[in-house]
Amino acid sequence: MDNYNPANMLLLLVILFNFFLLGSSRLNACIRTVAIQGGILSLLPLFLHGFSGHSLILAGGAFLLKGIAIPFLLLRAIRQVHIRREMEPLLGYVPTLLLGTLATAGAFIFSDRLPLIEIHRGSLFIPVGLATLATGFLMLITRRKAITQALGYLIFENGVFIFGMLLAEAMPLMVEAGVLLDLLVAVFVMGIVMHQINREFSTMNTDQLSSLRE
């Protein structure tokens, strides 16, 4: 395993960030961590596909959106509603961390058994992608505040992005641009809805959003 390959180092950092996100309750720190994670991921195409025009534009655009614009929107959203901390998640921090580690371990074991093509075998992209997907999913379903659910969605999208990087030929620039733009607008709308949630319910706890039921 070519260990000190910068792409592999960055991918390991991504996994460490996943663990941090699962265990942290400070919202500011979580948002900034997702921003750094997005920024790291946006640099990966440069390592994988060299410094061609396509990957430079993609990396630049992704960095701008994932690393700067989207976190800015989220930070603004929580500043307006003055929340600082997440409440105890549905499972508790320690069980969530345990689940996240199990999912990461499972991702590593599972990806060895996948029928990959030769150059991808043994690389860290697929397991890290799967682990990030699992982390995003865990955050989505176990957290109570709307903002952390939005963060979970962003982490999930980060995981999909990792997969997308393996297939740069299939994803032309326009589509990538469209995807990123969609993400930006989605987060923008989420921010607005979060603000409205806070205005109506005076809290961002989505437990309160449980009146609609059978």
């Binding site: 260990n3 390991l12 460490l16 663990f19 265990g23 320690v94 345990l98 371990a105 590593f108 397991p127």
Partner: protein
């Protein structure tokens, strides 16, 4: 023979220097001059000359605690290579012996604390034992990683020459192991962010409160034992970070001593820049560290 003497000399002679260096680093950060480097030596010397005050409610356990606390690090040090100086004592599976030696010491310290019948000390004992319980899996996972890399279950070989080649083949795993073992050093020696060695409020103490009732030579033994424990556990981290060997024994010894002092500076740095964690968060952090070491094992296994 030479290794045995060097081990004992380094351990007994150098270990009280570490708390001094840590204190000096913290003072520098705070803009003070701080206590002199050799302060721990002066303290131990002073304490051994003082008289003993023993509570009437205690038994022999109370006297045994500090003695065991002094003997265990000496024995444990003989199992661990100091830098490139190999360990005098080594047998397969001695890593388990190593971990449980410290468990023995902890048991006696906690029992001595509870023997006094004071509720503060019982509280401190409970906290200390919980934290060590949570830190133990980390140590074991880290040792398993090293055992796999070196192919042996003896600490001497695990931390021996195989380490240099291990860094080339499994760098990321070893980086995580170093981080995890550093956290273990902080936990076991009751440093910030897990415990504040300078606090004077009993409700916030963990280790200090356990040794509150000891005095005179007993307290001296406790201080010395704590310094030696820091030295031995720190030696693991230093060996991991500086895996090579120059071949010249004197140079190796000097390098090792330098590494230990550097470790003390780093601990001082960590203590100066971080605040103590809320008690609720410590178990979460320790479980996180355990999961991190588990993850480093996974990285190795794939």
């Amino acid at each position: 023979m030479l290794e045995l003497l060097l081990h004992l000399f380094l351990l007994l002679g150098l270990s009280p220097l570490l708390p001094g260096v840590i204190g000096k680093t913290k003072a520098l950060f705070a803009g003070r001059t701080g206590p002199p480097f050799l302060q721990s030596y002066y303290d131990i010397w002073k304490l051994f000359g003082k008289g003993l005050v023993i509570s009437r409610t205690t038994t022999w356990v109370f006297r045994a605690g500090p003695v065991v606390g002094l003997a265990v690090p000496v024995l444990a040090a003989l199992l661990v290579p100091f830098g490139a100086i190999s360990a005098p004592l080594s047998f397969t599976g001695d890593l388990i012996f190593f971990v449980y030696l410290f468990g023995l010491a902890r048991f006696f310290t906690a029992s001595a604390a509870m023997d006094t019948g004071s509720s503060f000390e019982g509280m401190g004992a409970a906290r200390e034992v919980t934290f060590s319980c949570l830190a133990e899996p980390t140590v074991f996972f880290s040792f398993i990683v090293l055992a796999r890399l070196s192919g042996s279950l003896a600490l001497d070989t695990m931390f021996g020459p195989a380490l240099y080649t291990a860094w080339q083949s499994a760098g990321p795993s070893l980086i995580l192991v170093v981080a995890c073992l550093f956290v273990v050093v902080l936990v076991e020696n009751c440093r910030i962010p897990f415990d504040d060695p300078n606090t004077h409020l009993e409700l916030t103490m963990i280790h200090e409160v356990m040794v509150l009732d000891h005095s005179g030579p007993d307290f001296g033994m406790i201080l010395y034992g704590a310094a030696m424990k820091l030295f031995v556990l720190g030696a693991l981290v230093v060996r991991l970070v500086f895996p090579g060997s120059t071949g010249n024994l004197l140079l190796d010894t000097l390098l090792f001593a330098g590494g230990m002092l550097l470790l003390a500076v780093v601990i001082g740095l960590v203590e100066s820049t971080m605040a103590r964690l809320r008690l609720l968060r410590v178990p979460q952090l320790l479980v996180g560290t355990m999961l991190l070491s588990f993850f480093s094992l996974i990285l190795l296994l794939r």
